[in-house]
């Protein structure tokens, strides 16, 4: 059952302590509480500051290259034989993904707070690259934490971060992927809390991160909404975005949440299939719990230990999800679905061969579901798929699957 969302309801989310209904909050050790309270206070002040917003908008226009196009994928639509498929081209941003919208905003925040040392976690490396990029531009010391297994499957991005002057720390603990990188970044933060700003890459973590990352990413949806009205003369019938932590999805969805006619689909990583247990789909198959500073749907076992996840895409390989998504799931406003590794790989090949656009494997999940969805819709209907990033970083993975050495 879906609940109708009003502007007033949305404005009240999160509440003053960072809760989205039963989710979110601020679950950190005491050492970090002072910093979290200060960050929240400063952010709320800057959010209302026209100079801060003007600087952010300027950077998005002239450094990132926004607005990103909303592109009508005519040939893909024809071949699919259903609704019109439109692509929001976040892959065309500087550094090749939506991640930079957020790192620009947070680095600006760090500068206003006078913090000179930046840390970040990364899975696929896109957030690490986007963070290293803004640090290079602003002359900030940059430390990136990345799981040892992800370092192996994303060598290109690791090298990019190094070229940009970042120190990349290989995380050998736990499952050696994104969640462990986040653990290690939190450990760095608690140790260097006085001079360090933690640029979290997704809409998760303790309050105010889910709120501020959403605010920075909401430019995606604001543009897509205006572009739909201008280019198609109407609002889309459906939005589709992949969900790991869920920042590109919340960024696209949020400005449309009160538009009742717009259906929304968040696509989680189904890995080898939900029924195999080897996936990264906490909204489909998890339960509420607390990890990395917030309460949200998590993949954990019956004794509360966080489960190992699997996805062909490093950026979706995470056992949690942003708390606002958990709230939207319970409300029934957004449909959360999943596609498997194989389906996502097929989506990658389809978009590459039919439109000449190579999506990141993360985004390929959204493409795969978007095509499936459009096929069952009418020709006059319109689906917007968020191509959150470009696929260059995944060429090694694809080549390996094809048995090709490059």
């Amino acid at each position: 059952m879906s609940t109708k969302l009003t502007e007033d309801m949305l404005k009240a989310m999160p509440d003053s302590r960072g809760h989205f209904g039963a989710y979110g909050g601020r679950f950190v050790s005491e050492t970090l509480m002072g910093t979290m309270l200060e960050l929240e206070q400063q952010y709320l002040k800057l959010k209302a500051d026209p100079d801060f917003q003007a600087q952010f908008d300027y950077d998005l226009a002239h450094y990132v290259g926004r607005p990103s196009p909303l592109y009508f994928a005519e040939r893909l639509s024809r071949e699919t034989g259903g609704a019109q498929i439109w692509l929001k081209r976040e892959d065309l941003n500087h550094t090749g993904a939506h991640k930079v919208n957020n790192t620009i905003g947070q680095a600006l925040l760090a500068s206003f707070l006078g913090k000179k040392r930046i840390i970040a976690e990364t899975g696929a490396g896109q957030h690490g690259v986007a963070t290293a990029t803004v640090c290079a531009r602003l002359g900030l010391e940059c430390h990136i934490y990345m799981g040892a297994d992800d370092i192996k499957r994303q060598t290109l991005n690791v090298y990019r971060m190094k070229l940009l002057g970042a120190t990349v720390h290989s995380v050998e603990s736990g499952s050696r992927t994104l969640k462990d990188a986040m653990n290690e970044a939190m450990r760095d933060w608690v140790t260097n809390v006085d001079d360090t700003f933690y640029i979290i890459g997704t809409v998760a973590g303790p309050h105010p991160y889910p709120m501020l990352v959403r605010d920075f990413q909401a430019v995606i949806g604001r543009e897509a909404r205006a572009q739909s009205l201008e280019q198609a003369g109407k609002l889309p019938d459906a939005l589709v975005a992949c969900v790991g932590g869920g920042s590109n999805a919340i960024g696209l969805f949020h400005p449309f949440l009160t538009d009742e006619s717009v259906a929304m689909y968040g696509v989680e990583a189904g890995g080898h299939g939900i029924d195999t247990g080897e996936h990264a789909a906490p909204l489909a198959a998890g339960r509420p719990g607390v990890l990395h500073g917030n309460r949200t749907y998590l993949m954990s076992d019956e004794s509360g230990q966080i489960s190992a996840t699997h996805s062909v895409s490093a950026g979706l390989d995470y056992p949690g999800v942003g708390p606002e998504h958990s709230w939207l799931k319970d409300l029934g406003r957004v449909h959360y679905v999943s596609v498997t590794d194989d389906e996502a790989l097929a989506g990658f090949r389809t978009l590459t061969s039919v439109e000449g656009i190579m999506p990141a494997l993360e985004s390929a999940h959204a493409v795969a579901y978007g095509v499936k969805l459009a096929a069952g819709m009418d020709a006059e209907q319109m689906v917007v798929v968020n191509v959150s990033g470009r696929g260059d970083k995944d060429i090694h993975t694809i080549a390996q699957l094809d048995g090709i050495e490059i």
Partner: protein
């Protein structure tokens, strides 16, 4: 009066300081934990903190991370640790036991089910590392209703306003984290710790235990001088790790580490 309050009050009356060891439950093997707890008591410890192993121990350094991994590999669960407390209580009814846990294992068990089982087993207090008092409204009342103390952390970064607020939510004692960092990381600046603990004592009537950075008799005495109790974690967990393949030597090793701390604390001049 709770068992924790009783022990700390009695020590204060005798002019003594509490020695509070932390071990990870189930490390190196769940079958050894109760024996280790008795060894800690024999070595002169006053309150035992039992760490509940968690897959993602964000506040812990490598020593306790590895201990958690060993404990989890051998099937340690929160329910099993509650059973350990029950077994310990069969032959010890005086030494308070406190759980130090991350929230998720407790939340997954269910707050009420946990509070019931923990109280039934004879647990005395609960410290949840990633649960500040602001978020503890679902948990603390359930614990209090069963005479379980809620222990919260104070840090070098905690404001006076927060120290007061956190103290009103706490019972038993407050745990002052002496350094900015994870467990087992840096060495402490005793003067800074002394200043801050004195300041905390002006703001709360609760006993103040100090943890992080206490690794030998000397640091134990220096911190004991200014606090009501010293909490010894990583160095103890490391001793357990180094003796994991020779359990017969573990007892002597733990005695060898803790007895000098006990003696140093007892040798402190009365206030």
């Amino acid at each position: 009066m709770s068992r924790i309050e009783g022990v700390l009050t009695a020590l204060k009356q005798q002019g003594k300081k509490a020695l509070i060891p932390f071990i990870t439950a189930g490390d190196p093997h769940p079958d050894q934990t109760v024996d280790i707890m008795h060894t800690l008591v024999d070595a002169g410890c006053d309150i035992i903190e039992l760490g509940i192993p968690f897959s993602d121990p964000m506040a812990d350094g490598p020593v306790i991370q590895l201990a958690s991994e060993r404990a989890l590999e051998h099937g340690t669960t929160l329910k099993r640790v509650i059973e350990m407390v029950k077994t310990f209580r069969e032959s010890n009814s005086t030494t308070p036991v406190v759980f130090m846990s991350y929230l998720n294992p407790i939340e997954t068990m269910g707050f009420e089910a946990f509070a019931d089982a923990a109280a039934d087993a004879g647990l005395d207090g609960v410290l949840i590392v990633d649960l500040p008092p602001e978020e503890a409204g679902d948990v603390s009342p359930l614990l209090a209703a069963r005479q379980l103390d809620s222990i919260f952390l104070l840090a070098p970064t905690t404001s006076d306003e927060r120290i007061r607020a956190i103290s009103t939510h706490s019972s038993g004692y407050v745990y002052y984290v002496s350094i900015k960092g994870v467990t087992g990381s840096a060495s402490i600046n005793v003067d800074e710790v002394a200043d801050k603990v004195r300041h905390i004592q002006e703001l709360t009537a609760l006993p103040v235990g100090v943890g992080f950075g206490i690794r030998d008799a000397k640091t134990a005495a220096a911190v004991g001088q200014v606090s009501d109790g010293v909490i010894v974690g990583s160095v103890l967990v490391d001793t357990i790790a180094r003796n994991q393949t020779q359990p017969d030597q573990l007892k002597a090793a733990l005695q060898g580490l803790l007895s000098p701390m006990r003696e140093a604390l007892d040798a402190l001049p009365a206030e």
